[in-house]
């Protein structure tokens, strides 16, 4: 029987370690948004973006490259290997081509993927649909958020 009084005896020790999380902006429109998130304090988060010119034509283009917001390059598989979960952020109507490369790497390594479509409040349904079609095959969970501050709340809730 669980009563309020009995709850006082619940063990207070921490019951989980921080999960490493890679947060990736998939298109130019979502970059400022992820950059703002990167300025906050998080437990174990890395913030990255998909640089189209490098990702499409640079060295190792077959497997894709990401960059940090201070300009360092990293392979997608390295970003995924070091993560327990990956959060992909795309703007409604934006090109989320990188979702397939990142999603495939996550799938190969059994890393959980969450996709968020931001800027949905003012977006046309067709724009949301276009982005959704790119994200859906590669995401365990897709969230279409009309409020951009949702991503911050979600990351806090997930203890990122």
């Amino acid at each position: 029987m669980t009563t309020a009084a009995a709850l006082r005896f619940r063990i207070q020790e921490p019951n989980a370690r921080a999960r490493a999380t890679s947060v990736i902006a998939l298109d130019p429109a979502s970059e400022p948004f992820v950059a703002r998130l990167a300025e906050d304090r998080w437990n174990h988060a890395t913030f990255l973006k998909w640089p189209e010119e490098v990702g499409a034509a640079g060295p190792g283009a077959d497997e894709g490259w990401l960059t940090t917001f201070d300009g360092r390059q990293t392979r997608i598989r390295e970003a995924v290997d070091s993560a327990d979960q990956v959060i992909m952020v795309a703007a409604a109507g934006g090109r989320a081509d990188a979702a397939a490369l990142i999603g495939r790497a996550c799938s190969d390594r059994r890393v959980t993927t969450t996709a968020l479509i931001v800027g949905a409040a003012d977006a046309a349904d067709a724009d949301i649909s276009k982005t959704l079609a790119q994200l859906r095959p590669w995401s365990l969970m897709v969230v279409i958020a009309s409020s951009d501050d949702y991503v911050r709340d979600m990351m806090t809730a997930l203890r990122v």
Partner: protein, 428 residues
């Protein structure tokens, strides 16, 4: 994870609290109409949002809901005589009408006007769809009467029950939008419960135990879509509706009735779980009604004369370890309603959300909290009415539907998610 102050804000709903103000923006179910079956019947004690109230039906059929205690010496009016259009306290004979107005103080001269100066706090109480609804907020902001489809279909199409849940409303409601638990906790019931079995959708459920989720904001709350593989590359979608603050509607199965819940705080440690089943275009059959009364589907068996479940925390929910081991039930507890309630109550009256470790599939819960917190802030800071008050937010349906792989469920099921009189629900 929520910070303690956020958890307190959402779980505390007494008078003067921000969360209480949110709930006091809505018409909420207070009693089953059958609890006050005839004029001048015995009054009923009601505790809602941490307020102790008395409900009665006067000689003219008017419903009253007011402070439980006599203004004279604080006697409970549950002992009152319901006679000649009012409740008379048996201690000294003070009498109150259905608005809480004192109309007689026998010890005082009638000409003194003393009775006119005494009035108990009262709330409107209306009957709609076999449920008595009350609005406990500012009278100046009273919204239009509720328009949920289960209370607007013909009487023979709908069945509603209620039960006591010994936990805070929020953890109960969060169970209602946590679609990912169904493939585990309730898997034993899909092919055996008379209110679920036989639907084609059950096979999709059982053959794909790793659904993929999409959470989309709706005008009144959320659409939560759970996607499973169907034939020819299509997707089978189960779309749950959540309307603020605590209405949920579960995706239907086959030609069975469609069902859902309200979770209404009694106080901060307990809530009423309201459960409804209705069919938009036909009467419920005698067999369906018998099953619902027998605690099948989302309903539960209760102790006679009360609304406390027969399986409760004092008897360990009658857990059957042999049934659990044999796979007849996943948790060992019988019945979908009590499978949920047993686990939610096991968290304690108010779960400590500072300790939880949510995962990606909990985004429906995370988004619901996000919207609730925003709505409370907008209400308290700016007086903005929260989502879910307007009638168009209430005229909604859940849906089960097969769609092409590239179609957003919000588009593909757009029509199916709106309640329309005499139009069948979308179900597989």
């Amino acid at each position: 994870m929520l910070r303690k102050e956020q958890n307190d804000l959402l779980t505390q709903t007494g008078p003067g609290t921000p969360g209480g103000r949110l709930f006091r923006s809505y018409w909420v179910p207070a009693l089953l109409a059958g609890e006050l079956p005839e004029n001048d019947c015995p009054p009923v004690r009601v505790k809602l949002l941490s307020e102790r109230l008395i409900a009665f039906r006067d000689s003219n059929g008017r419903y009253g809901l007011m402070d439980e205690f006599c203004a004279h010496r604080g006697v409970s009016l549950w002992f009152a005589r319901n006679e000649e259009c009012g409740l008379r306290c048996p201690y000294h004979g003070w009498k109150y009408d259905h608005t809480g107005q004192c109309v007689e103080v026998p010890s005082e001269p009638e000409a003194s006007g003393f009775a006119g100066k005494i009035k108990l706090k009262s709330y409107p109480l209306i009957e709609k769809g076999g449920v008595l609804w009350t609005y406990m907020g500012d009278p100046a902001s009273q919204p239009p009467e509720p328009e949920w489809e289960f209370i607007t279909v013909p009487a023979g199409h709908t069945y509603t029950s209620k039960r006591l849940q010994e936990s805070n409303w929020l953890q109960a409601m969060e169970g209602g939008i946590d679609s990912s638990h169904v493939s585990f906790l309730h898997r034993g019931d899909l092919n055996s419960d008379p209110l679920f079995k036989g639907a084609k959708g059950n096979q999709y459920n059982l053959s794909d135990s790793r659904p993929v989720f999409e959470v989309v904001e709706s005008p009144g709350g959320l659409y939560i879509g759970a996607r499973r593989n169907a034939e020819e590359g299509k997707y089978y979608w189960r779309i749950t509706q959540w309307v603020m603050p605590s209405f949920t509607m579960i995706a239907p199965r086959g030609n069975h009735s469609v069902h859902g819940h309200f979770w209404i705080p009694i106080d901060d440690d307990t809530c009423w779980t309201w459960s409804f089943d209705y069919h938009p275009i036909r009467e419920l059959t005698a067999a369906e009604l018998a099953a619902m009364r027998d605690g099948k589907g989302i309903h539960v068996k209760v102790e006679p004369g009360t609304y406390r479940p027969l399986a409760n925390k004092d008897n360990d929910y009658l857990i059957d370890r042999a049934a659990q081991k044999a796979g007849r039930t996943f948790s060992g507890v019988e019945g979908i309603g009590m499978q949920d309630a047993s686990l939610q109550e096991s968290m304690g009256p108010v779960v400590d959300r500072t300790k939880e470790n949510l995962v990606s599939t909990d985004n429906g819960i995370i988004m619901a909290r996000h919207r609730l917190l925003k709505a409370v802030k907008a209400l308290v800071d700016k007086g903005i009415a929260p989502p879910g008050v307007a009638g168009e937010h209430q005229r909604v349906r859940s849906a089960a539907i097969v769609l092409p792989p590239d179609q957003p469920f919000k588009d593909g099921a757009r029509e199916a998610m709106i309640a329309r009189p005499s139009v069948a629900h979308a179900s597989v």
